[in-house]
């Protein structure tokens, strides 16, 4: 199967490690939180305040705020906008992200 990286002939630098809820995942230089999580097969990283339902990317351009996530202990970051750096810690955000 052809991948988007192959389609665009992308040759990023070496992958680095970040964590999602303590689990190590790989990320590429230039990837946002959302891109790395999608590539790792993860599509949800937040539960809603009311019903506790899973959410992930919806608009992908910073408008809808559905992809909120906790990065390096800061809640309410938009996964579609925030770039990743080696060692970043991503945590699934539950509700407002201020309860834990």
């Amino acid at each position: 199967m052809r991948s988007p990286l192959e389609l665009a002939d992308a040759r990023p630098g070496p992958a680095f490690t970040v964590t999602l809820d303590g689990r190590e995942i790989e990320a590429l230089p230039g990837q946002t939180v959302a891109a790395a999580l999608w590539t790792a097969g993860v599509t949800s990283w937040r539960t809603t305040r009311g019903e506790g339902r899973p959410r992930g990317i919806f608009c992908g351009i910073g408008v809808c705020f559905d992809c909120l996530v906790t990065v390096n202990d800061r809640p309410n970051q938009r996964a579609c906008l925030v770039p990743l750096h080696p060692g970043d810690t991503i945590r699934t955000q539950e509700g407002t992200g201020h309860d834990d």
Partner: protein, 465 residues
Amino acid sequence: MTEQPHLAVIGAGPAGLAATVAAASHGVRVTLIDSAPEAGGQFYRQPAAELRARRPQALHHEWRTWERLRDGLRTHVQAGAVRHFTDHHVWYVDRRDTRFTVHALFGPEQEEPVEVRADAVLLATGGYEKVLPFPGWTLPGVVTAGGAQAMLKGTLAVSGRTAVVAGTGPLLLPVATGLAAAGVEVAALVESADPKDFVRRTRALAAQPGKVAEGAQYAAQLLRHRVRTLVHHTVVEAHGAERLEAVTVAALDADGRVRPGTERRIPCDTLAVGHGMLPHTDLAETLGCRLDGLDVHVDDEQRTDVPGVWAAGETTGIGGSALSLAEGHIAGRSAAARLHGTEPDPGEWAAAAKSRSRLRAFFAAIDSVYAPPAHWTEQITDDTVVCRCEEVTGGAIREAVGELGAGDARTVKLLTRAGMGWCQGRVCGPAVAGLAGCELTPSRRPFARPVPLGVLAAAGEPEDD
């Protein structure tokens, strides 16, 4: 630096770039302010530089036009005529007498305030996608069609292996072909309109031979990737427990209602769905610019009715990248002339003006064909979440309308909180208006994005100059 007049252009998509290059070529100092890390906007969204894509054009259409814009910007930046502020998120434009202050937040965390003073402002803020709700649309794996494309173009990422692309409008074609080219199996392209209706509108098409060729290209690509196209069909429901597993699609009857018995289930892990575009008009509105319906009103020179404020591109009405280029060029030329105190000569942009008239007619025809099914609100069940932020259901909104007498989106919001969350009603606005039985009207938002209180307090302090 000499005392050249200074124009602030907000948005670095096709309209903003064309305006920047046009104004800078005519002796105006430009600060181009954009939220993305690279110029391009949504249409020419570029892969992050660190991904080192050697063939980004594989994800794009009209690449030569992009190269021309990119090189034009680079030339003017190197010459010192243009400053390009990336990753600057504009939340407010303040007008005092004849001077403007653009307030932005710098960086992905959007906390560091930046102010840009200018003699005039050109709004090229673009648009975003409209999505109408249906059961299951909040499941992870359901994304906007434009969102799937943005993630692909900007980060070279896709959310799964098998996708359905659905809704209505010309955006669905490049999204389906783009995903297929990137290795995603596109199980179906589900369009609620019947594009054959469009072909019958020979006048609008005859004026745009380029658009006919573009349509034929997409058709060939869909065929090559074996994408099944279902016209006059709609997604009835998205299924899954914790994430998307399948969608049910069904045929529409002549009145735009789901035809019972035509439902079929298509397994997929991604649904890219969209029902057209909406313009970003928050900054124009807080500046006091007149809107026509949802669009910023402009004259033949792309001036708004507020002195010193121009607008171009999707914010003045959805019409695609070629129209945005024409409008941006005209706006930039007009602003340059007027900032030098001279009356512009429209003869100098006659070609762009001609292109603008043709493309506006073309998109008016597009709009009349690519409309959501007439009875789309019937697909919103009482337990369908309509306001994604505040988790307000279709049933709660119907109760506010039917039993509590709400007749407009604002009253629905006060009664149910629909539209009161993080996105400020940008996503649920069309659905709430539809359920309330009223036209979608621009929502009055004092700021274009969330602002830290400390930044807001500091911005209100008296200025030194």
